[in-house]
Each structure stands twice: as C-alpha cells, then as structure tokens.
C-alpha cells in the first residue's frame, strides 16, 4: 500500500496544507495541482515578459519549507507547477532547496506547433462548439496538450525527490505513483481507471474532506484546521480515502460522492490520456471514521486523441458595483441600471453583452432565486464585455457619477473605477496522440 496525499487543488489554495500533510503523519507521495484551464495563458504572458517566469511561483518557496523533511522521510513530490516553463521552475526550486534531485517532464507545450498541426490538416475544432481553430488563430495565447501519468511515472523512476510537469491531466498526478510503484501497464485498464477515480476524488484538495460540502455542513468539525485528503492505494486498484488523525473536516461516502460528480460529463466515459474510466462502476463503502473505501472500478483503453487546452484573446470586460439602501433599495438599484444603459447607448458604445445582477436578490441564482421583499440594501453589479477596449474603459467611468446624478442613497464606490480586464477564453480541442512526444530531464 502507498499513501498519496494532495496538498493543492488549484494555484491559490491554502498555503499551509502541503506543509501539514508532510508534518501530520505518514505519506509517501505529495501531489500538488496548480493549473486551472486558463492559468496557462497567464503564465505564458509572464514568460513573455521575463524568460525566467511562467510557472507557479508559490511552488519553489513551498519546497524550500518542506525540503528537509521530504528527504528524511523519502516523500516524493509530483506537481504540475512547471506551467509553461518547467525548467525555470526546476531551477527556482533548486535555489530554494539546494541538493534536491528534480525530474522535469517536457512535451505538453504546443504553442509553437499550431501552424505545423494546421498544415497537417488537424482542424483542432472547439470540442464544445465545433468551430475550427482557424477562426481564432491570430488570438492564441497558449496551447498545451494534456499529458498522462506514464511520463510522470517515468520521471519518478529516476528516483527524483521532485517531479515537475507542465499541463497534465489533474488526476494523472495521483495515478503516476501507482503506475511507478505497482508496475501497472497501459493495458491495465481497470487499475488505471481506479487510479484516475482516486485522483479525481483528491485532485480538488479539501473539497472531498469537508470543504464546500452540503452534507450536514454546520456540524463538519474544525474547518479551520481541515485535513487534506490522502489516498491509500493498493496494487489491485482498490483504495481508501482518508486524512491525518487530529485534523478537521470530514470524509464520508456522501462527501466523496459530491466530489466524484464534480465537473464531469458522461460518467460512463470519463476521458483521460491514460484510459477511459467508468464512474458508473465505482463502489464506495464507509469503512471507519474519516475513511471511505473505493473498489470495483472498470476502465477502457486510452483514447487515440489527446485533449489540448488552448487559450486565446477574446476581448475586454469590466464590471462595477454600487450599493443602494432602504427604502426602495431594489427599485433604486434597478433605476441606476436603467440610467447607466441609457447613458451608454447615448454615447454610441456597443458591447457584446451588458449583464446586471442585484446582490442580495438574484446575483447567484438568477431567475431561480427565491423572492425577497423590501431588503435593507441591494448592491447592483453591472458588467460589460466586447471587442473594443475603449468602449469598455468608457463604461468604467459611468458608475460612480450615479451617486450624485441618480436615485438617492447610492454608496459603496470606495474602491474607485472598475478595472478593464482582458478576456482570455478557453478552447478545448483534440490532437492525435502520436504528435506528443514527452521527455524527462533530471536537474540537480
């Protein structure tokens, strides 16, 4: 049995979590998932400004904090912290923690190969909309193939202390140690699928151990000290999800089910670079306090195509807020919205969309929100987006004047004009697997 813990569900997750996983009890592997779908484009921009950037900058100082302990206890770290510059990431880690052995996985970054792919006749159509990529070719900011767990396992085989990759399937970080330690092959579909399911359960960190959980949430113990999840993986593909003793949070099958269903499509065909996992085959069992066993997972062969995560510039947006107080708070907020839209129209400004929400009334649930009557205050939030940056910028000057030119009782403008932000949109596409050749390099 091996223990695989996940200490980051996204870049920006709780900084203390990985340190506590190392300190709080036995683990063999520490995985850290830093890359959301659009993180790659932010990192690509950072690299364009400084060739030594483009990776998750939280990562090197974290390794600096835990370096001594992971060496003493032979804990191996597997992280997709490399972003679009895994080599610079490895160098920064060595600076923060001299003496560590680091294995870097290359091959996911295909930004420089888009024209080559187009030349070969790959349309790279948007999986969701069917549009060919040629429609956004000149706006592409980043392009990365999702690599699987086998290259990560190959990196672990170098006996490195830390494995750094760029874009990989999130659950592959967790599957890789199982492949490495149990010797699973590409045809062990059921076992690979089981590892992917275990990985899916813990890839969002504490979201399977009591965080963001609806199940009797008021009584989930000590969320301030929530324990991040640990998978105890067996060579036969069965596993248990648990956490260190004495930590907060809760692990039970209802919470694990919530996470299993999180951000999936067809559950019978959960596609990954290494296999197709059938989530309708998963059996769960509560086998003790804060312990859920998973078994019976079935899988199928890996797909012929790899998914690529492509980001592109899609215009500009801004949103601003004002607060209106009782009496007639909602009515005042609605009038403020109407006036703003009229002024924007009179200026001749065009947008792809103007969207208005009323906090305390319908901001989260829209038309499905439960009705409220006579609230003590309402915050109106108006957002615009469109291709013309000047139009969006002009909008940001239209909110605050309402305080003196609109309905009575407007406030809450203390943070000043809203910021104009670039829209970096996500374009999921498929490319043939054989185009992606990965390579492992050891840095010491």
């Amino acid at each position: 049995m091996i223990r695989i813990a996940n200490g980051q569900g996204f870049w920006g997750d709780w900084l203390e979590a990985p340190v506590r996983l190392v300190d709080g009890g036995p683990i063999d592997y520490l995985t850290l998932d830093y890359l959301a779908e659009v993180t790659m484009s932010i990192l690509q921009k950072q690299r364009q400004q400084d060739p030594e950037l483009g990776y998750a900058r939280d990562f090197p100082p974290l390794i600096g904090r835990i370096a001594k302990k992971i060496r003493e206890r032979h804990i191996k770290v597997v992280a997709n912290a490399g972003g679009v510059n895994p080599l610079a990431c490895a160098r920064a880690v060595l600076k923060a923690a001299p003496g560590l052995k680091i294995a870097v996985v290359f091959g996911d970054d295909v930004l420089g190969r888009i024209d080559e792919f187009l030349g070969k006749g790959y349309a790279m159509r948007n999986i969701d909309t069917g549009e060919p990529i040629s429609t956004i070719r000149e706006h592409i900011l980043s392009a990365n193939a999702y690599i699987g767990a086998f290259p990560l396992a190959e990196a672990l085989a170098t006996n490195a202390d830390v494995v750094i990759s760029g874009r990989c399937a999130d659950a592959a970080l967790v599957l890789a140690p199982m492949i490495h330690r149990f010797g699973w092959g590409p045809d062990d579909y059921d076992k690979l699928a089981a590892g992917i399911v275990a990985g899916h359960i813990i890839e969002c960190g504490a979201q399977c151990s009591g965080g963001n959980c609806q199940v009797d949430w008021q009584n989930i113990p000590d969320l301030a000290n929530i324990g991040y999840p640990i998978v105890e993986a067996e060579p036969d593909g069965s596993f248990a999800v648990t956490k260190h003793p004495g930590t907060g949070g809760r692990i039970d099958s209802h919470g694990v089910k919530e996470q299993l269903l999180y951000e999936i499509g067809d559950p019978s065909q959960y596609m990954t670079p290494d296999c197709v996992a059938d989530f309708t085959s998963i059996q769960l069992e509560d086998t003790g306090p804060d312990r859920v066993r998973g078994y019976g997972v079935r899988g199928g062969p890996r797909p012929a195509m790899l998914k690529a995560s492509i980001s592109y510039h899609a215009g500009w947006k801004a949103s601003g807020t004002l607060v209106y107080s009782w009496p007639d708070a909602l009515e005042k907020a609605r009038v403020a919205d109407r006036i703003t839209r009229q002024r924007l129209a009179q200026l001749g400004l065009r947008f792809d969309e103007i969207h208005t929400e009323y906090f305390g009334v319908n901001a989260c649930h829209g038309p499905a929100a439960r009705p409220v009557s006579d609230p003590p205050e309402v915050q109106v939030r108006i957002g615009v987006r469109g291709p013309d940056k000047r139009a969006v910028d002009r909008f940001t000057r239209e909110m605050i004047p309402l305080v003196l030119t609109g309905p009575p009782g407007g406030t809450g403008y203390g943070e000043g004009r809203p910021e104009v932000r670039q829209i970096v949109a996500y374009w999921p596409a498929l490319i043939p697997r054989e185009e992606i050749q990965t390579r492992v390099e050891v840095v010491e």
């Binding site: 779908e37 959980c213 089910k257 299993l260 269903l261 999180y262 998963i282 769960l284 649930h365 038309p367």
Partner: protein
C-alpha cells in the same frame, strides 16, 4: 405532496467551459427512484429559465444513487468570458435544492 429537492438529495456543481454540471445525490438509496422520476431534464431547464440557453442532459449513476446534469450554455459564456458573479456555476447546485418535486408519503418511510 410537494417538497423541495433538498428533502431527498444534496448537490455539488461546477463548470466545463459554458456547461454547468450539477451532481444530484440521493440521501438514501430508496430516494433514487424519486430522483429518476422527478428530476427530469425538462423540469431542470424550466427551473433555471433564461439562465440556461441550451439543453439539459441527464446521466444516471445507479451505483452512487446519483444523477449528473449538464446544463448547456448555462454559464453566460463560461469561465473567463461570463459576466456573472458565479461564472463557474458553483451555486447552481444549491439553487436546484429549492426545486419542487412530487413525493408520496410512503416513499419517504424507511
């Protein structure tokens, strides 16, 4: 009798592009047939009204006594494009808990 969905199930929701997904999990195995009967794609689409521009797909997970709902064009453009506060659909699962379902009393006894 009419009850909110929260009486028999809990949910978690998230995003994939402009698709919102809602996992709906029965509190007890014997509530799963109620989910199958009451939480139909048509009703879910009607519940969210103009918020969901596309269709609703439903997948069944009898092993977990759960459903997975996909709300197409449900996030105002999705991720970074959407102007919504909840651009990732994190709260849509909670919204669905208020959907009224028709339950017979005998179905609620253990």
């Amino acid at each position: 009798m009419k009850l909110p969905l929260s009486r028999i199930a809990h949910t978690r929701s998230g995003d994939k592009g402009d698709i919102a997904n809602i996992g709906v999990i029965a509190w007890l195995p014997q509530y799963y047939p109620i989910l199958l009967r009451e939480v139909t794609p048509e009703r879910v689409k009607a519940f969210f009204g103009e918020m969901v521009k596309g269709g609703v797909d439903r997948f069944e997970l009898p092993n977990l006594y759960a459903l997975n709902l996909l709300l197409h064009h449900g996030l105002g453009g999705g991720g970074t494009v959407s102007l919504r506060t909840d651009a990732q659909g994190k709260t849509l699962g909670a919204a669905l808990l208020a959907m009224e379902i028709e339950v017979y009393e005998r179905e609620l006894t253990d």
